[in-house]
Symmetry: C2
Subunit: 346 residues, 2 copies
């Protein structure tokens, strides 16, 4: 936010600012009938279900602008909402973006933020169709709502897991959390130091997972291509443990997941060692992975295992058996919904 | 927020809090297929257009909790979104509610806020289908998104006004702004005084307009009953001048509105006199009226005039004539988009 042109937001006013930020935004989805510029956007879903999800991001709580570039923040804010729509086995189509902005931010800052949001929209084929921009007393507030579409009968809820279903997860877990630890460490080291160079070499994957996560559209498309409708699905935002407990609670089941099967990247493991942290704890409770956690009938074992980047990590059980992690030495540990917030406070 | 049971939000945690606030919420709209409790809500609009609008409300900017009760705040936050959907000639069906809450607020406070939101939903037949609740560093942040439905061909945009169309407005204007002035004055008088009793006698209408506004569903329904589809429509949130300029800009027209026809309540007029303020300025720029401003073809003069609470205040002109208020003495004054924010700063 330094060494650049700085235009005060007050010079444009609210309407001028919105016009500037949303200039040349042209809807690409057939379902977007009318975007920015009226009391409401107009959408049309012929014979489809409409999906709606929303997220509120507050400076100092959900993001720290000392190490998160505004463009990345915009990208991530949009992508985490797309991820929620994919987690229903749907396709994101439109978003609205509301911003609360203090005087600290210039028009150029907001253009950076919007550049990230627009890049995400472009990458995922989503239209920006409205929002609200206003002054705030302190900091930056971002509220994004995403609308998507799904096909009746193919929407994946949290409550559809059945006994003996396979528990699957995409990608790898814990990297975003390790990326956050790394950024926090470098921030502490940096404090007060001149000419500081953060030690990020060979850690690019962890940083990318934290700063510029992607939603697993590819996995949803691969499942569809393979003719699989998951019995239950969620995206992993609060951590594998927390999400598994949501699925089991809503489906009235128990589960067993196996420590040895939890997918973890090599860089995540190295970093955990360096930080002297428990690797499995980070993978179970780290959060912000935005990978997909889903269940499929046992009969689909071969089909689902053949999908690149998808791993079977356990199975659904009767509710009486509870929700446990089976460790490498065969012990069963009850899963706890620790979530990344409480973890960060330890 | 005093003298009541106080449960710290931390004792419930995020999921516990959401469960408590959304307990026994049962969808009533046919279009709500799945509400709170999954990654996204699922809606279904058979053969209808979907409308989406969103609002962000920040403590200290959009509301002042020293004189706004939380229940009223909840009610108003929801209603202003419904108003945007009605302003498209649509019907609100679902809302999502995102809250950012600092430690100052207890579970009971949020229950008050939700009681207002739920009352609004009940009154207008809207389902609460999702949201996001998180901690904030300071103050209260409320982000509401409303989804509604409209009939293709009957949606009223801002850009459809045509030369010679009649300009109509519902209810009366300026009262909400006067209510705000009254509350601000009593707040200043109150500062430091013990046993203070605010002077609100015979001002109930102004307070109600500010604290508990209603959306004009009745007017939208009456228009439909009369077979009228407005050529353009908006709700008046920033003030009549500002909204008129939006319609004229987007419709590429000018307009003439007549000072003597602008509907103003008796209490509003009295209060303006007491405050020594220009009454017409308050009615033109006061804002937060949430009345409907719309245009209809000249041929519908009789039909539209017969609708209770609707008044014809002027007409649309060629763009070259500009946008003017015709005063009682026949002068033309150009309309300016002052809006209520800048007005408040004077």
């Amino acid at each position: 936010m330094e060494n650049r042109n700085r235009t005060e937001i007050a010079t444009l006013g609210e309407f001028g600012l919105i016009e500037k930020l949303t200039a040349d935004i042209t809807p690409t989805n057939e379902s977007t009938r009318k975007g920015v510029g009226d009391d409401a956007a107009v959408l049309h879903y012929e014979g489809r279900e409409t999906l709606v999800t929303t997220d509120l991001l507050l400076e100092g709580v959900h993001f720290d602008l000392t190490y998160v570039p505004l463009k990345h923040l915009g990208y991530k804010s949009a992508v985490v909402n797309f991820s929620d729509i994919y987690a229903m086995n749907g396709t994101p189509r439109q978003i609205t973006v509301s911003l609360g902005v203090s005087k600290r931010f210039s028009v150029e800052d907001l253009e950076e933020l919007y550049a990230g949001i627009r890049l995400a929209c472009q990458t995922y084929g989503v239209d920006l169709v409205g929002g609200d921009t206003s002054a705030s007393m302190t900091g930056l507030t971002i509220s994004i709502t995403c609308i998507g579409e799904g096909i009746a009968g193919k929407i994946a809820y949290r409550n559809g897991a059945r006994e003996n279903d396979l528990i699957c997860v995409s990608g790898d877990l814990g990297a975003a959390y390790m990326g956050l630890q790394l950024l926090e460490r470098e921030k502490r080291v940096f404090a007060g130091e001149k000419d500081f160079k953060p030690a990020f070499d060979n850690r690019e994957y962890l940083l990318e997972r934290q700063l510029k996560p992607e939603a697993r559209r590819d996995v949803v498309e691969a499942l569809d291509k393979a003719g699989i409708v998951p019995t239950a699905m969620m995206d992993i935002s609060d951590g594998l443990s927390s999400e598994l407990l949501h699925i089991c609670k809503q489906s009235h089941t128990g589960c067993r997941v196996y420590e040895e099967r939890i997918p973890i990247d090599y860089q995540t493991a190295l970093m955990a060692e360096e930080f002297n942290m428990n690797l499995v704890t980070a993978a179970l409770n780290g959060g912000e992975d935005y990978e997909l956690l889903f269940t499929v009938p046992l009969s689909l074992h071969e089909t689902v295992s053949a999908i690149p980047g998808v791993k079977v990590i356990g199975h659904i059980t009767a509710p009486s058996l509870g929700c446990c992690l089976v460790t490498r030495d065969g012990n069963e540990i009850e899963l706890r919904a620790q979530g990344w917030n409480s973890l960060a406070e330890e």
